[in-house]
């Protein structure tokens, strides 16, 4: 009877872990919604940080994440294409694959320190470009691995059909293979965008922050996440409320982009 009891205990404990995990999700989302919504006003979206709103921060954060994506997506996709279509799975390809996996897990604060050394210190001031570079470095390995994995799912008969039609290799890749993997790659891009838009550590001493609205990437650039970090630690109630409002907006953006990505691939697999 003992082993049946042990079995029961383990099954109950496992189920309990899942319940605990999900409760944390709901606990966090509930407090964010409760605190965030009560601190949100129309003026939160129309004012800049200096007037107690987050307009410039949203624009700044999106600007940096978007430009970083514009740089990281082609580089990452081409790298993934090389790994899957040109490398013939050579030794070099597996080295590159491993390096990019390693880079994906490098601590983000270290990337911030690195970018500070090469793009901030020499110019003597924090700047938006440095923030963009830091986010780009974070994003590239994610795009590489997504593209690599998604291209692997494309059946080789499609490539063979392309060759039979007399297509040149790069045309086959662009017009047949990548097209076939389009949905999966797009999902990967959305997920990685959701990841970098919520990053704080790589921005702390690259873009830093700006209270005012600006589009000048050569100076300190407004960041939503860096502002949350600053605001939350101020003692006054107004700053804290703004931090909650900003956190709520940020989490909503991240989760919506994330769910959109997942929804696109819902019928695949």
């Amino acid at each position: 009877m003992n082993r049946l009891l042990l079995n029961k205990i383990i099954l109950v404990l496992s189920t309990l872990s899942a319940v605990i995990g999900i409760s944390f999700l709901f606990w966090i989302l509930a407090t964010l919604t409760y605190k965030g919504v009560s601190s949100l006003h129309i003026s939160t979206f129309t004012n800049d940080l200096v007037e107690g709103g987050i307009r410039n921060l949203l624009v700044g954060q999106f600007t940096m994440a978007t430009i970083a994506s514009v740089i990281a997506i082609p580089i990452g996709m081409f790298a993934g294409i090389w790994l899957r279509e040109y490398s013939n799975n050579s030794k070099l390809a597996s080295v590159i694959r491993n390096l990019s996996d390693v880079m994906m897990s490098a601590p983000s604060i270290v990337i911030g320190v690195f970018v500070y050394a090469i793009f901030v210190a020499p110019f003597g001031s924090y700047n938006g470009f440095a923030g963009i570079i830091a986010l780009t470095i974070m994003m590239i390995p994610i795009i590489i691995s997504t593209t690599d994995n998604m291209l692997a799912l494309v059946p080789k008969e499609l490539r063979e059909a392309g060759i039979a039609l007399g297509g040149s290799k790069h045309k086959i890749i662009m017009q047949i293979v990548v097209k076939a993997a389009k949905v999966g790659i797009t999902t990967g891009i959305l997920l990685s965008f959701a990841r970098i838009i919520g990053e704080t550590a790589p921005l702390l001493f690259t873009s830093a922050n700006n209270q005012f609205f600006t589009m000048d990437l050569t100076g300190q650039f407004p960041s939503l996440t860096v502002s949350i970090y600053n605001l939350a630690t101020y003692p006054d109630e107004a700053s804290r409320e703004l931090a909650w409002a900003a956190s709520f907006v940020l989490t909503a953006i991240v989760l919506i982009i994330n769910l959109t990505g997942r929804y696109m691939t819902r019928n695949k697999k």
Binding site: L4, W82, S247, V254
Partner: protein
């Protein structure tokens, strides 16, 4: 012509991870030189961190406190996260009814998508008071940082463990059940041994992630340069020290910060490499 250019550009893009990694290492190493020359490996065991008020080129800097803070907070996080993540993975692969698997998986993955700064803020205003009233202390400290770190790495660990548990062939499990094994015995004697590599790999990857986590810990560890004598005591960690003091540091102190970043970078890479190459080796499709 176009084909050649396309191929070359692809190859160039593929090598970029290599150059960035080399770049990070050489930059950190170069800027850490002053500190490395001054303190050598003793840096890692010295607990004094004192800048000279007048001369930025002198002062005594040792990384022991942030290093020990990083290790202890990670240890607490791992101790809490590992059993829970295993439980969730077992629940998802062996216990949950088919209709439950999808929503629970999505919920766990959403937990992983929440930015770390949100965890930090939530932990500061909601978890810290609870920890303070239950365990004493000041609210912020090692334990609070460890608990929030655990919540952050659980989904990550659970997802990889679940994936590797899913690779166990049904035939193996069915034969064990046919012999009269209970579910727990199947998990312990069939699933665990079969997916051992993936499970250990996921634990090590989560460890790497916890070591380098900045924002959640920055709110919660207390950010003071002192050795904790109690689990609820405040201290600091490498990422937190960098986040709070890096931009104001000068001279030798700055160089010591680079030294700490280098230590963190090398340790993280070593841990990730062990996990990837040794335990999570994927067959190339």
């Amino acid at each position: 012509m176009g084909g050649k250019l396309f191929k070359n550009f692809s190859f160039f893009s593929a090598t970029i991870s290599f150059f960035i990694l080399i770049g990070i290492f050489s930059i950190l190493f170069t800027y850490a030189q002053d500190s490395i020359r001054e303190f050598g490996f003793d840096f890692l065991g010295s607990e004094v961190w004192e800048a000279d008020e007048d001369d930025e080129e002198i002062g005594i800097f040792g990384g022991f406190i942030p290093i020990i803070g990083t290790l202890l907070s990670t240890l607490i996080a791992m101790a809490i996260a590992t059993p829970l993540a295993m439980g969730i993975a077992i629940f998802l692969t062996e216990i949950a009814h088919k209709t439950l698997v999808k929503p629970v998986s999505i919920a766990i993955e959403l937990l992983a998508a929440i930015p770390s700064i949100i965890y930090g803020m939530w932990g500061l205003f909601y978890l810290a008071p609870i920890i303070q009233s239950t365990f004493g202390g000041q609210g912020v400290g090692l334990l609070t940082a460890g608990v929030v770190l655990a919540i952050m790495i659980i989904p990550f660990m659970a997802a990889i463990t679940r994936d590797s548990m899913n690779t166990v062939p049904d035939v193996l499990k069915e034969s064990a059940y046919a012999m009269g094994a209970t579910k727990f015995e199947v998990i312990k004697d069939v699933i665990m041994p079969y997916s051992k590599g993936g499970i250990i790999g996921s634990i090590i990857l989560a460890l790497g992630r916890a070591l380098g986590e900045t924002m959640a810990v920055a709110f919660l560890i207390g950010s003071v340069m002192s050795i904790p004598s109690n689990i609820t005591d405040p201290t600091t960690s490498i990422p937190v020290l960098l986040a709070n003091n890096f931009s104001e540091a000068m001279g030798l102190e700055m160089s010591s910060m680079y030294y700490l970043a280098l230590v963190l970078f090398v340790v993280s890479l070593a841990i990730i490499s062990v996990a990837k190459f040794y335990f999570l080796r994927q067959k190339v499709k």
